[in-house]
Subunit: 261 residues, 2 copies
């Protein structure tokens, strides 16, 4: 399904579509059901008809034998006449991209180094939470640094709330509670974040979604970042602040890695 | 140049690119120099190498004989490896789409009917003014109404400033001055808007860019919308407010239509 896309596709023209990035291990896309459910939810919010699982399955089968890699599923609203307005009866386009090989994993135990981005996210409640194709803020933020030792940048919104990493979501451990930023103004409500909240609750851990400032991150007992490809990593350093040893992250990472759905 | 686009193109993946929409009259793209200058400026802001005019000219020539229509020029950052970060040495992709036939023109003299959109634009100074490919807000806003008598919707930002139309820019005439919203927080600083400001100034009219509320729009002597394809039209009705006759719009529209560059 990697042939050329019609240049009139609204995904290209306007960012009018959604996507998912999945880790594939031994030919098996991880957390398939949860990923597809999120794809469907995001499509519903944009009023795009999400292709059914059977079509994705057929696309996957057409790839032939795959091993370890990264799979990206995109759904666009399809082609349309000129103009922003979504056309009646547009036929959504699905695009499946597989790249063999996994990126170097985050060092879960030793932790990663993060920085705070200069860019401040604009707020758009109608798009918040959706992993849509209009991701230029993430592109600009990721271009802010080049140092290879920095694994991720933190994004704040234009009212100085911490929202997420550029390509990951954020969780903090503080006073024996797990907290993660609310994502109803901006940010992407990712599958790994949702899974971690669910697994933590099932493990008897109190979990909450809340607004948080950078000071609250810096004073947290432990800070963690997560995404579907990289899994969970604790932050070992953020600017001048260091966290020398894991607290809850080891347990959460283990629960996440053994989860299967 | 309408063949298939690589699905790994960053324009499709992230909205990582810019575009221009031009009116073509008798085979000639209108305001070509101004359009190309704006394309270059937008590319520069996103640090994309804009293709030189010679390549666009060659693409145009390859279209063969064209008449009246709409031409769209897109520049994306090109293909890249996985991830938001702009790759070093990416080769920008240019896409040229021509559609024969012009949309029904706005009724400049009688004016058009507009409404106020419910969606509020998020603010992102780093992207403000740029006609980039991440236009989901415009897509959502344009889906708010279906009534064919409504030609355009006005967009406010999340602090209730009036910014623009969904596909056009806004000018008001008030106390013998022309004013247009400032576009440093959000919105697209279009070519037609810039031309109109320039032509008005050359005509001895005082022109300013300013923040404006909806009340200031409603109490204006005349309200106008403009874009490169539709030209300039006065607003005859916005909600309950009507403006019965043109004031400055006729003069501005005439200056615009005779401008050649």
């Amino acid at each position: 399904v990697e042939s050329g896309v019609d240049p009139r596709d609204r995904g290209l023209q306007y960012g009018d579509g959604v996507f998912r990035t999945l880790r594939v291990v031994a030919g098996r896309p991880r957390w398939w059901r949860a990923q597809l459910a999120k794809l469907e939810e995001d499509c519903r919010r944009l009023r795009i008809d999400c292709p059914p699982e059977s079509l994705w399955r057929a696309d996957l089968a057409a790839l032939g034998r795959i091993g370890d890699g990264v799979l990206k599923l995109l759904v666009t609203r399809g082609d349309g006449p000129r103009g922003y307005r979504p056309p009646q009866g547009a036929l959504p386009r699905r695009i499946l991209i597989y790249r063999a090989g996994l990126p170097p994993a985050w060092d879960t135990a030793n932790g990663i180094v993060a920085r705070v981005c200069d860019l401040r996210l604009g707020r758009q409640p109608l798009l918040a939470g959706i992993k849509h194709l209009a991701r230029l803020e993430n592109v600009l933020a990721s271009a802010e640094w080049a140092a290879p030792e920095i694994a991720e940048g933190l994004l704040l919104d234009d009212e100085e709330r911490v929202i997420s990493g550029v390509m990951s979501n954020l969780l903090i451990w503080r006073g024996a509670r797990l907290a993660t930023p609310r994502l109803h103004r901006c940010g992407v409500a990712g599958v790994t974040r949702a899974l971690l909240m669910r697994l933590a609750r099932a493990d008897g851990i109190e979990v909450c979604e809340d607004d948080m400032t950078l000071d609250e991150i810096l004073s947290a007992d432990e800070v963690m970042l997560c995404n579907s490809v990289m899994g969970l990593a604790r932050v070992a350093r953020l600017g001048e602040r260091t966290w020398p040893a894991p607290l809850i992250s080891t347990r959460l990472a283990a629960a996440l890695e053994t989860f299967d759905a």
